[in-house]
């Protein structure tokens, strides 16, 4: 574990990413303490530019709402959607891929055709359709994102399991009379954890992007302030008040960038042999 932290911190990008992410998480967690009022509340006259009024560091939007408050509350939505949808995607993808790879044959064929069915539909289109059919609320948006993002997980886990199940330690476990489930969950899957963790960190980033895109199109939860909604609402005034789209855009950029940096750092730290070469 200490070894892992040492290797992770050797990657400067990953450290910066971790710092940004921690800041975003802290802001999101303490949002109600920093801004006790609702982010939807009008506090001043509209279109105040940043740094022009005391108490409103990022100015106000088209309806006179505090942009800073919106940003902080929007972080909550982004993070929750990103995390929960990734967890749900893992819950679908990992077992499916694991069973497909481990048992092979018909189970593998069935599971992979099912996965391909989802892979052939463009992610974003499917997410829009799902949210449009269901009502756009936080849980349904999360679910829609999870449903479009599990297929790569299933394929990755299947590939890992396929190569691991031929290893001699798995055969040794089989000779010891272990049951298939015990071999799969006790011996095979733990050895496939590293790539899954790396992929998950990158999936959180794409989930945040997806959520923002949905809210930008007006398919977000109408009762929740989110970054995508802020950009979408400000796009009509982009010529007169460009910062209203710019500021939440930067927030998305930084968070996604942070997650990608962390993902790469994790990759280096978890696969030290690949990472050390030629730097």
């Amino acid at each position: 574990m200490i070894d892992f932290l040492k290797r992770f911190s050797r990657n400067r990008g990953a450290l910066i990413g971790a710092l940004i992410l921690i800041t975003v998480v802290l802001l999101a967690v303490f949002a109600p303490l920093i801004y006790p009022d609702s982010p939807w509340k009008m506090v001043q006259r509209p279109f105040l530019p940043p740094f022009s009024t005391e108490g409103l560091p990022l100015g106000t939007d088209t309806l006179g709402r505090d942009v800073a408050a919106g940003l902080v509350y929007g972080a909550r939505v982004s993070l929750i959607v990103g995390l929960v949808s990734t967890l749900v995607a893992l819950l679908i993808g990992v077992p499916l891929g694991a069973f497909a790879g481990f048992y092979g044959g018909l189970i593998d064929d069935g599971a992979m055709r099912f996965t391909e069915f989802f892979q052939t539909i463009p992610n974003f289109a499917l997410a829009i359709v799902l949210v449009a059919i269901l009502e756009p609320t936080l849980p349904t948006i999360t679910l829609a994102i999870a449903i479009v993002s599990w297929p790569p997980v299933a394929r990755l886990v299947r590939a890992e399991v396929l190569s691991l199940r031929k290893r001699e330690f798995v055969e040794a476990a089989r000779l010891a009379g272990l049951s298939n489930t015990r071999i799969l969950f006790g011996h095979v899957l733990p050895n496939a954890m590293s790539p899954i963790i790396v992929m998950a960190s990158l999936m959180v980033a794409t989930a945040i992007l997806l959520e923002s895109s949905l809210s930008f199109l007006g398919l977000g939860d109408p009762n929740i302030m989110s970054w995508g909604y802020m950009i979408g609402a400000a796009r009509t005034v982009i010529r007169s008040a460009w910062w209203l789209s710019f500021i939440p855009g930067v927030a998305i950029l930084l968070t996604v960038l942070a997650l990608n940096l962390i993902g790469e750092g994790l990759n280096d730290a978890l696969n030290p042999r690949l990472a050390r070469k030629g730097r």
């Binding site: 290893r167 001699e168 330690f169 055969e171 040794a172 476990a173 089989r174 000779l175 010891a176 009379g177 272990l178 049951s179 015990r182 006790g186 011996h187 733990p190 050895n191 050390r276 070469k277 030629g278």
Partner: protein, 536 residues
Amino acid sequence: MEPVLSIRDMAISLPPGADRDFAVQDISFDLNAGEILCVVGESGSGKSMTANALMGLLPDQVEVARGTAHFEGRDIMALPESERRKLRGDRIGMIFQEPMTALNPLMRIGDQITEVFEAHNRHSPSERREKALALIREVGLPDPDKIIRAYPFQLSGGQRQRAIIAMALALDPAILIADEPTTALDVTTQAQILDLIKTIQQRHGMAVMFITHDFGVVAEIADRVIVMRYGEIVEHGTASEVLENPQHAYTRALLKAIPTDSVPTPDPVTAPPVLEVRNLRKTFVTSGGFFRPTRSVTAIDGVSFSIARGEVLGIVGESGSGKSTVGRAIVRLVEADSGEVILDGQDMNALSASELRSARRRVQMIFQDPYASLNPRKKILHALSEGPIVQGVAKDRAHARARELLEIVELDAGAAERYPHEFSGGQRQRIGIARALAMDPDLIIADEAVSALDVSIQAQVLNLLRDLQKRLNLSLMFITHDMRVAAQLCDRVAVMQHGKLVEIGPVAEVFLSPKADYTRSLLAAVPGTDWLEGAA
């Protein structure tokens, strides 16, 4: 005589954090025209690094720290990359260890040979083809007109190695570097390739630097020998000096560790059989889908034998002979098509999946690859006790037994709390043995259990196996490709070829008066046979 290549005081530095600062240091030697210089050492001794440094093929972050290598009047270590590239393939040729990966799978053999001429701007295209044909003929590949248009996958391992030798010879280099060129080959093929390298060397008057770990090979071809350990040259001399009168203790230890041909006379087997295999058959079928025909390979073709309690039966054969499949079919890691595997009166092949799970305890396996056979994420204690616990042994007792077993295989009891990556290959193989013993089996199958180990470690593990076998009266089925190892450990030996049992009998009989032609050719191909017989 003027040496072709003379290396002085060379050192190659490793990246920080490696187990030592220098891969090799204080390396000085000469390579003379028309001689074969063997560089011998165990894994990690730096012998391959030395060759790669000469070719300019060092991995990232590994570089030549100091020293010179004079070749044709120039120090090649000081040359710029463009000059060195001109030397490579032209004046210095190289043969690699893995014939399976050293050729481009998408290029025809002829194109790969002519590419060497092309890279150095020699000859016109039609001349190149003629030269390629001549080379293919020279290295003894059959049917040159066909081979020139063949893809690597259409050739066997030995044929590929010949093709690689043809490429290395293309521009008639002054030096040929061969990095373990026969290690991946079967013993009969190895003998042919060694022969080829020797004739070619004599015909062209080249200097050959031959890297190997096998003293049998050294005895077969070397004029002079360098013995390396931990990146330093420990002994240097002519082949006969080093082999017959080694000066350094390490060389003596290495030579002593080589399994000899002296065959022990085992007691005749009288005990009742533990295992009886009757008419076992297995054919692997790859289904072809819609457009391809199905392919089938017969791995086991009606094999029958028995192993008595307390007996060691060796199964020897070359790769593809089906010897490993027999072992795996007995434990049902591979399902046999037909035949009986009778263990104490119970047919293993007839058991249902759930019956099998509890019966599995009775036959255990020791695997070949000490790095792949232990789960890297589980502690040793867990590896040794999980099986017994699943079979219903109480946790405390299983743990106590695991610690006891570690002592039996001569490891520290503290090893229980550590992870596999903290152990060396030999230690891991001991853990593998302990794991097999933990299940208290009636029969242990060792599948190439010492093949991946260095010769000195191999000797230790073999000694341990022999001790344990005597002390615990184990029944052992020992699968190996190495005739000498089999001779050392086994009571009886079975020789397999193309899935069939060619010969079976007591070791002395099979080795000293073999009946089958195939056994005779196998025995004759073992490198260094003459030298060992002379020594014995």
